[in-house]
Assembly symmetry: C2
Homo-oligomer: 690 residues x 2
């Protein structure tokens, strides 16, 4: 099957391991299948409905009809506040890069259709793609915010206009369509668009880049999917131009859009986190396709330093609300973690590329950590609301009284789910923090945002998430992620089908059942050993090879053969590096790959998450989380919070439950913390070791 | 002299203590006189020169000439980025509230002239005031950004337009002129303007408030200075309307501009810190003049809760960069402290009002703490650069390679001081944090900002700072702040002149020498005992009354009599409340009223502030700071910063100096921290007390 062989979201020319296509790997149960079904059944429609109602999809119709730029919006125009640039009377709804949300939804639909056919979804997909295509101009340009009468000229605001960024998302949507076996309308639109961009920005075009990286990886992927080398050539130019000062000044500094230094000169990711990570993905794609080892090495080095010094325990990245940016080394405040959902997704995209390029299991660890503990925290259990920022510490319960940006009655679709927060909100759910009864929305998920990149990014990620679980090689299969899924592909020696079953992540036992395998050639079956299980996993048979981070079985397998591996998923304490000031004197509790959280509904009445300490020696594993002893009392009076002596020890004890972090805030507004202050007598300085 | 009796920046109708006027109290030496001289000799001219060069002062000329709103700027137009709303072709330089910077400079000049006459400064003052006055319209309205052809209509954007905010600053400048004995041009302008505002927004006008509180306290003060009660009546309306939803939605939530609930219903300050504090000042002024005890009590309660839970040890307030706002209770990250200079100044303004209203010495403590450790940290030692945000922890040295917002060559005045950072920068000096060699300006002071409220606010504060040092009562003098100054006023029994001398804050001995005193009536001389000196101060004679927070001497004094009080200013460790997550497991070092800081230039070569711990038992007092043992070593490898065991103890020791926090960053780009991690073996949980 040609479609199956085209691979998943990334397909390097010469990977260590070959990514599987959507017909080669299917989730069959467990948490990920449940989330993927939620995506198919709820999230896709939720995004589609919102964008229809508030006019973002209609922008394409108005562009095709020639009324955008001059017409009046009849419905759904955003009340914008300062986070949005929509202008009354322009006929354009939303900020200037809302096209990209429609493209990410198309990408999500394409992956979903590749995974499981649905005539109804297929119809919706084609209808949406046709509306996009109709807005494409004669020369291939396609953007609803620029270039028409009454709009700013094309490419007149590369710093903030997001034109190439939107193009990149359209191209990625087209690549998803190609990779799932269909070279139809959207891939045609994407080629014409990419050709236009090549003419405008290629070797004979203007020397410029977009303020928001994204098109780089999209172009390389389009090259991979179509065989057209010019797109990679263009991506290379964009990567090489970055950091050479082609962009004008940015209020947050040039590192905000990574124009502060050439990509290959940087030693760490910095600036706006999503921008930095999308750029790193593009740079690595360019390096891979052009054999640019120096550039690949630069990306690996940057990512290693970033992981070591600028990543939250959840895999979230980006410490700053103000500029949605990486902080300094070890600047990782739990209570002001931005840890944007899109940055987590971008991080998975980068780690996946690095895993394919290097075969290093630590990248699969990062994917697992980030998917489970950052990305999965975004959608609510019902799939109708999302976190944009994923804090690790919520001090005051979120309120659902109103919204921060817009009058909810003005903008909420009538058909939207009944939810108190049915309004468009500022991107981090209201940044003010603040007292319990203010009107800004904090601490709870919102159905939509004025900058609503996260819901559609979640959608495309969930639609394709199974494709990150395993890869193929000439003679074997590598299992990178665990859960319930079926792999069915063809190796050199013939077809292989495996069924992976487990109760993971709650249970650590992984069963791999062979359904079909070459009868006369040994099959290599390689399982990643998660970092936390290193040296502590058990197998049902002796592996042929064993490293700290992998188990490899290699023999003739017969149908019905089963290999079992058990990872210890008991709850454990994890301590932060002493250089992370924000969480000094605390510990987190992890259980297998899950970061756990203490949420207020689990506390005794009248206990507050911000007044307690906890004892790591009291941790016991619970069905899906843990239980732990917590203490309170001993705090000093409420006058001046800086005193001549440390506060006294706690006086009351209780035993409480910890839940998986990603499940938090699904039981109503709550407070929460992941880092628990150590229950210890205030330690007088004992002096260091001699 | 009538002018002397008009008092300082605040003059309530019925204060517990009477504020002194600029002719009644004069700094005569020490740090505050040095800073005040720096203000007179450098800062005033620095602000004046910058605003002239970049067209902010010229806005008034263009408004008077009728060319604003349509004309082209010939010079100095800001390169604005997203923080500024200046539009090419509008003839208006800078964002919409730059008028207020000219007014704050005028206020600073007025206080400075009241303090010490200077013909040259008087000329500059009159010239500037005349240019402002020329822009006033027939009906009293005066704003260079609104209402003329080509500009938005008057009062068309109360949420963000800052019209009444600017008026408030003009009125405060006029009040400074009145209080220093001159009822000339600016007071006339202010009366006409206030009358206009009364007509527009008074009992028969529109029911609305400004998005940025400020005019409330200005109007009450104008009532106090002119005797016109309508201005207080108007201020009362503005205070009562706040929190009733007259403002449209704000992206950061309604608490951003305190429109989330009525002033008297709030229990703590929240939202944008400067807005919250200016509003609290205005509310208290209204309460004081109208005898509204409930409102006064509400402000006192809010401030007490804010001080207990939302104030940095430096007195700085505002934890959030994004919205320049208060955080949640105990959300006080040292490394992301915004602690805006203007918020510190506003805090001093509020504490001063509360001190006059209540006589409670803790407010004088707050004034001292905030002036010395937050406000004074803003201006550089040479007075030519300023911090907007005052972080308590600098992780990477600031760089002076360029600026964040604007091309420095385009906007820097040719005559500006030779400083690498000669450019207009984002208000917090570049929010990106980030790597050492990026182009954004972080960690060092900047000569000017696109929103440049802080330099002029520092100027007006330094020009009038002596007026906060002492007050009079019928039969005595209260000394609230210490340093070197002379008080000369008239009590019921006759004239009194005192000379206060000390090496404070480095030295804790205060000498009060009587120069003149009533010969037959006892003089009451009351000295505040700072909180840190409570129970530990010594006096040269037995006080007539003594409380934990005050010493009161009362006898017939003769010329030449001296009273000496000694406060223990030795360096000491201070521990944070356990609820402040961001600084758990650390301590600060204070010396007298000074917060000390560890700055990289004082460390041994190759030691970094972010790798060390310190031992509070090793603190020794130094001439103006302290010395302390610090340790390093023992950190884990640079891979994944969350581990199964706490990092090991330190292995190397050094002795290092701590300097007053306000002096930091005057020896070139540096790293710094105020909260020092406790040098202790990682403590296994010992369990709480039974």
């Amino acid at each position: 099957m040609s479609s199956a062989k085209q691979g998943g979201p990334v397909r390097p020319a010469t990977p260590v391991w070959r990514p599987l296509g959507s017909e080669e790997i299917q989730l069959t149960g467990g948490i990920w299948q449940r989330k993927q079904r939620l995506n198919t059944e709820v999230i896709l429609g939720h995004c589609e409905s919102w964008m229809e109602r508030i006019g973002w999809t209609g922008n394409f119709d108005r562009a095709a009809a020639g009324t955008i730029g001059t017409g009046q919006l009849s419905t759904g125009q955003l009340s914008t506040g300062q986070l949005s640039t929509a202008q009354p009377g322009t006929g354009h709804a939303g900020i200037e890069f809302v096209d990209s949300e429609v493209y990410k939804l198309l990408e999500a639909m394409a992956w979903d259709l590749g995974r499981e056919h649905s005539a109804a979804l297929e119809d919706r997909y084609h209808a949406l793609a046709a509306r996009v295509a109709a807005a494409q101009e004669q020369d291939g340009y396609l953007h609803t915010s620029f270039g028409r009468p009454g709009q700013p000229p094309r490419y007149s605001n590369l710093e903030h206009g997001h034109e190439l960024y939107c193009f990149g998302h359209l191209i990625q949507a087209a690549v998803a369509r190609l990779r799932t076996g269909h070279d139809d309308l959207l891939p045609q639109v994407a080629r014409r668009l990419a050709d236009h961009v090549y003419d405008e920005f290629g070797p004979d075009g203007r020397v410029a880049v977009c303020g928001h990286p994204e098109i780089e990886m999209a172009l390389v992927e389009l090259s991979r999917a179509t065989g057209e080398p010019r797109y990679t050539e263009l991506a290379r130019l964009f990567v090489e131009r970055r950091g050479t000062g082609t962009l004008g000044p940015h209020p947050f500094g040039q590192q905000y859009f990574q124009d502060d230094m050439p990509v290959r000169a940087a030693t760490i990711l910095r600036g706006h986190a999503v921008r930095a990570l999308y750029l790193a993905c593009g740079a690595l794609d360019v390096a891979t396709e052009t054999g640019d080892r120096e550039l690949a090495q630069a990306v690996r080095r940057q990512w290693a330093a970033t992981v070591a010094r600028r990543m939250y325990i959840t895999g979230g990245v980006g410490s700053h609300h103000q500029d949605e940016a990486f902080g300094d080394d070890f600047e990782l405040p739990a209570d002001r973690a931005y840890a944007e959902t899109c940055a987590g997704i971008a991080s998975v995209m980068l780690s996946w590329r690095l895993l394919l390029e290097t075969g290093d299991d630590t990248y699969a660890d990062l994917i697992e950590r980030t998917l489970l503990n950052n990305v999965l925290a975004s959608p609510s259990a019902d799939g109708r609301a999302f976190y944009y920022a994923n804090t690790l510490h919520q001090r005051t319960p979120g309120t659902a009284e109103g919204t921060a940006t817009a009058d909810s009655h003005q903008t909420a679709p009538a058909a939207a789910p009944a939810r108190a927060a049915d309004g468009v909100v500022a991107r981090d759910g209201g940044a003010g923090g603040g007292v319990a009864n203010h009107r800004a929305l904090t601490g709870i998920r919102a159905p939509w945002f004025d900058v609503s990149c996260c819901p559609t990014n979640v959608a495309r990620t969930l639609a394709s998430v199974g494709l990150y679980f395993a890869t193929a090689s000439d003679d074997g299969i590598q299992l990178h992620q665990y859960g319930d899924y079926r792999v069915s592909t063809t190796l050199v020696a013939g077809p292989v089908t495996l069924q992976v079953s487990s109760g993971y992540p709650a249970d650590g036992t992984i069963r791999v059942t062979v359904v079909e395998a070459p009868s006369r050639t040994p099959l290599r079956l390689r399982l990643r050993v998660p970092g936390w299980a290193s040296g502590a996993c058990e197998a049902s048979e002796p592996p042929a090879a064993r490293t700290e981070r992998s188990l490899e079985f290699r023999r003739i397998f017969h149908a019905g053969d089963e290999v079992r591996v058990a990872f210890p998923v008991r709850a454990r304490a994890t301590y932060p590096d002493t250089r992370i000031d924000a969480v000094r004197g605390t510990f987190a509790v992890e259980r297998g790959p899950l970061v756990l959280a203490l949420e207020s509904p689990d506390l005794p009445p009248r206990w507050a998450v911000d007044e307690l300490t906890a004892d790591p020696d009291s941790i016991a594993t619970d069905e899906s989380g843990a239980v732990i002893d917590v203490y309170r009392g001993g705090a000093a009076p409420d006058d001046w919070p800086y005193r001549a002596r440390p506060d006294g020890p706690a006086t009351e004890r209780a035993r409480t439950r910890l839940i998986p972090y990603y499940e938090w805030s699904n039981r109503g507004p709550a407070t929460m913390r992941t880092w628990l202050p150590l229950a210890a007598r205030p330690a007088p300085a004992e002096g260091p070791a001699a």
